[in-house]
Subunit: 342 residues, 4 copies
């Protein structure tokens, strides 16, 4: 049994961490914190927890108070740029940190600073971190003390495209990613663009080519390819609570057959407990993964067989955030990878 | 004043035709027909019309009965493959036919037969038809007796991409179209995939590269380019009632600047009353066009400036169907193009 | 032709006023104001207006500036408690004011102060105002300079119940109203309870028996009954953009037949252009009134025939707000009541 | 460990039974059947089960084939009127049957025949059945071989109202129930009224006072009261996938205080693991129970304290169907009541 703390417990990813960890056979939640006015029972924030879990959530992230609870692992579900300040303070005390923010994902701080608009003040910790996409990075994750849990869009994009790059099938400069996300991906913030009536019965594209997840996807795809990969990434906001459907268009170096490509993906993900590659002719849908830690992948081809279309579906709050965070915890703690997640 | 009939009045496009034409200052609706069990007041099918319009809708499309009403224009809002049988019978009597089905859109009947799975039996009428996209084809529309009203996906796709082709800016073999459609685009049919709980909180891609609207888009884009154009088209079903957002990715022959491209589109659509080109930095959203006949267009560029991203938004039932049908009627009847549509 | 100003133009009711008045044959919009940071074209706030209406919206409500535009009628789509300060300043200049806030609806200021939590400082104007429900109050509206446009819940509730009271059919102390409202009814405010993911896939009751619309409904029903009427009113928030469905349960003084009751309503609303009473066996649905100024009414009976169930449907932004405001303007200006509304 | 079969596995309640039972530590699913064209893997019907559960679902309910699998308990998730034919055949073999249909809920077959329009041919089994609402009927459930699992509306209604009746607080003839249900409550049927675009952005009331769940609610409330209880029940269809919010209005025999009533409910449900009574001032919302087996209950009072308003929230597919079915299985099999459900 290990003890964990969740910092940033009142957001959507915080709630999902609580839900998963409450049923996890090897974990005990010992502390909750959030930026709130005063301490409250977490079940007052999320009444779905009434009767099940009524721990008080602290209104400030006092690192020493959290440490006093005897915790082994800290989940930081904090906003970007806030996390940066807290990660070192837990790491320096020998704790394992699983950071759901973007602060330790990008290895090149100049890119971080460009896309997140803030100086990166913790470079040394950055280089000690592992990018937490288990299907591609488990060797590093196992040995890491700091895990930079991937963004939601990158998870669906990278899992969908990396196999083609690792197997040298793709043109590295002709990759288009068109992603559609549910609204929880934007967080639990009271801002007009997330007002029900602004989102409902609407779809919009935003930040075309300049979204902060672009460099994260490019970094990991470049790692997979062994060379610099450029993508064109367009996110869209869609009126559903949860889920991301990613449709990726990858030019192939040479024409390929559909069964060959499906076979490639099935082989590649053979041992991955949370990736399901669909048979030829079937495509993932968001509802197939809602509430689960799966990333579903389906493959299609353009009529001229020169371009591969990869469709992936994830629950943005699970495989795209909190589920993957627990998957990472399992790996780093030596538990079976799927513990508490199926 | 002209008299019109609407055949297929009980579908979603039928209802929109009724709504628009009831307010059209130059039109009188004289007949409604639909495939129903027995004649009913149309306000029983669509109670929104109660007190406003209570014409009886006939339960069979008896051409002579319709003709007896003294009609000038027939709108056929019939299913694909059904329309084919009725178009000639109205044309032969000298009536103007605006056909909302796909039956007379594709000039190459082999392609029609491949994508619609039925022999085309009315080839001579096909070649007399005009493809009803006013922004590109108004010269032909003006003189036509049969107007093949465009499909919903093609409308948003062609209006978004054609300017780049006409201006010779685009690589003809590197066009990816990722479209997201509301559910009325699939029609008012009782089938399980359109059940509320199958669609709600879900998104799916379907018919990747093989959708019947592919060849329609390619035909018109090829006309614009003066050469064969191939596209890769992926439609998605999204849980909203109305609207299509199309995100098109077009490789440019050479790098271009955003202001140049926005300028190109603004100039191109200067006189089009129903196309709105957005300023740099703004992108269309479905809610901006819901309930209107507009096609909104926004332009973005990939970071390397080699690929243009065109986002278009239409209301699939209006600019993507019934609104455009009335726009075509206005043109063919010599009314100002926007009559009854603003 | 008259000239109007809309104060509070950037909310949902402001947008609807603009939409309606742009098509109104007797009206010219001369001024827009809103609480915004700096003046902007209204089409930047609501891109649906692009190309159609690009008037600049002022960022402050400077009464003299508005008056300088030569306006005849002012629509105040301001928050409750704010309106109060502006109404007198326009009235004192001889302008007609149509106030969409609650500030001049309740005749008893003690009740206003209890439910709205603010001292009422403009009592004399209050008594000069007409409650703007045309189906019941048109005589007063015709002569008024200040019209207190009804709340959205009261419109659906009062129109549904008043005929039973006027015809002395109802027990005045056994009236339960269960109303379900779309989210625009709560306004265009960035607050967490209106975040898409808090509202979507959810329904909740709120302010049971203590909602600020209770006394408004009771005031008007008491006027109809000629005696004090008490109601039990429960509003619910439902994940749709627009519309209120009201289900009212009214104990009858004595058993009644359904056809008698339907007949009573049909007779009562015979001349009301915006009330549609359904035939026996049919019930209103929100989608039948969306986008229109209708209030649809359906009648059912309990199995013991002792309780009448009245279901009403309105579009909360139209008959429940801006449509009704224009209906009131028509009446007070001597235009036909339905001008610009059908 | 017990073995179970699920007949009617391809509906929404079938899927939920599978999901719950797959994680239930004492159960093994041995057989699935459904009315389908040919046998298929259940994961083809519900791809969310891919990789998790790929049992073949038989296309016919051959009782002997099912029995051969060595089953102990049969869940019948069949349509009303179909279930009736199968219940006896399993019971006669000594199996425990948990019937999710309405066929064995109503003790008075004349009422069954009136509301379901079919002769009841299995009266003797009817009288042997237990109504499966554990919070009120656990004594009978424990000893039963046939459990008539309650309807979704009755579950939320009865749990909300029964305590007032058992404690003699309520007027038995002045009970109004206004319920709002998500669309899965209507089943997984391809019919036009359940088409996405007919339900989305809409709310409607239906079957006022004549819904088939009325007599079921009255039967159980009468049992609670010890006297005949009449209700007025109005169901509404609301555009969400899952959940029922029930707002019940119950006249009190005499005025009561809110804290007294909340206390009464808290005491009454003290030992019920799946009922959560809210503190004064808080009310349930559907999202608080989605995905759980809870029935949440909140209490309010009319301003005159003469009428109690009880709001209950359940997930119609769990506490309103499959979750409750497993709760009943736990009771009848002697497992702790909450096994596999939290």
């Amino acid at each position: 049994m290990i003890n964990v703390a969740i910092c940033g417990a009142t957001g959507y990813t915080g709630l999902e961490l609580i839900r998963i960890l409450l049923k996890h056979p090897r974990v005990k939640i010992k502390a909750l914190t959030a930026k709130i006015d005063k301490p409250v029972k977490i079940s007052e924030v999320f009444p779905e927890l009434l009767g099940t879990f009524e721990m008080v959530c602290s209104n400030k992230l006092a690192v020493n108070d959290v440490l006093k609870k005897g915790i082994d692992v800290v989940f930081l579900a904090l906003p970007h740029k806030v996390s940066m300040d807290y990660v070192p303070r837990f790491l320096d005390k020998g704790k394992i940190v699983i950071d759901l923010s973007a602060d330790f994902r990008l290895k090149d701080t100049r890119i971080y600073e460009k896309f997140y608009g803030k100086k990166h003040l913790q470079k040394k910790y950055l280089f000690a971190s592992a990018y937490g996409l288990p299907e591609l990075c488990s060797a590093r994750i196992k040995k890491a003390k700091l895990i930079a849990n991937p963004g939601c869009y990158p998870t669906g994009s990278i899992l969908g495209i990396a196999p083609l790059l690792l197997k040298k099938k793709a043109d590295l400069n002709d990759i288009v990613i068109d992603a559609k996300s549910g609204v929880t991906g934007a967080g639990r913030k009271a801002i007009l663009p997330l007002h029900f009536s602004e989102v409902n019965e609407n779809i919009k594209a935003y930040k075309i080519g300049v979204h902060q997840h672009c460099p994260e996807i490019e970094q990991e795809l470049s790692n997979a390819a062994g060379k610099k990969v450029s993508i064109l990434f367009t996110p869209h906001l869609v009126p559903i609570n949860r889920g991301i459907l990613t449709t990726a268009y990858v030019a192939l170096k040479k024409q390929a057959g559909l069964s060959e490509l499906v076979g490639l993906y099935k082989t590649f993900y053979k041992k991955a407990p949370f990736v399901r590659v669909y048979d030829e002719g079937s495509l993932p849908e968001i509802k197939n993964v809602t509430g689960s830690n799966y990333c579903d992948i389906g493959i299609a081809l353009s009529p001229d067989k020169k371009r591969c279309v990869i469709v992936t579906a994830i629950d943005n709050l699970l495989k795209g955030a909190s589920g993957q965070a627990v998957q990472n915890m399992n790996i780093v703690c030596g538990f079976p990878e799927a513990t508490g997640l199926v």
